[in-house]
Assembly symmetry: C2
Homo-oligomer: 144 residues x 2
């Protein structure tokens, strides 16, 4: 096995290790919003509203999964639906005031945790690490 293979192996193992832990870690950090619902709510906030179908397409989730996630977020009062007047099949989803507030809190606490984890990294390393992750994920999207 070449050095190149060693690196690939390490990347594989470490990405896997991270993935295994991520959900539980997220749940521990902020029980009010799971990793998935956080992600969806953040997307809504970011996009200033979008359709359930868009969420499903973007995150490679089944529409039924999104439907239930959104239903849960709505029940919590974090999301509201606005039927599109142009097309009555469509509901445009928006974070509510409350949802945006909770999202901001969770985002802040996540950012804090990440910042602590990365506190002793110097700026160039952070920069390169971020770039590598972007590149890696882009490749994954491209190749499935």
């Amino acid at each position: 096995m070449t050095h190149r293979d060693d690196s690939v192996e390490t990347i594989q193992q470490e990405m896997t290790a991270f993935a295994r832990r991520a959900r539980a870690t997220a749940a521990r950090m902020h029980p009010e919003l799971s990793l998935v619902s956080y992600t969806l709510l953040a997307h809504l906030d970011d996009q200033h509203g979008c359709r359930a179908t868009d969420l499903a397409a973007h995150y490679l989730l089944d529409k039924s999964t999104v439907s239930r996630q959104i239903a849960a977020l709505e029940k919590l009062g974090f999301v509201e639906r606005r039927v599109d007047p142009e097309d009555h099949r469509v509901q445009v989803l928006h974070p509510t005031e409350k949802g945006a507030q909770v999202l901001a809190n969770v985002t802040a606490s996540r950012r804090k945790a990440f910042r602590e984890r990365l506190a002793d990294w110097d700026e160039d390393d952070l920069d390169r690490f971020a770039a590598y992750l972007l590149r890696y994920n882009a490749a994954q999207e491209r190749l499935g």
Copy 2:
């Protein structure tokens, strides 16, 4: 927000995006062994056998979760239990011949997928990316 914060934000987003996809991707790639069971089986192989409790501690899983995962792997004939003659509470778990075989196949196919994804990276980048991931995960383990 500083440039440093931007990088932290990107790392957070990209790690999260990756984590969300990892299970489903793994399931699609090799339905015969989920991400979790793959990980556990690989650990057994690597350690030349260990106890369920050790797996639980190492992967931060509840012992009941490990117990059921192992039961499933045993049912598939991928793992065997050997009661420790020194301590009859303990079962030392080992991959079977068949289990080792399947593990090798899955590992090979995972490696292939990762290799493809990383095919156009030059060796220095792979090296650095691997090092960053190790460093990041180590920090996560230290800080919860």
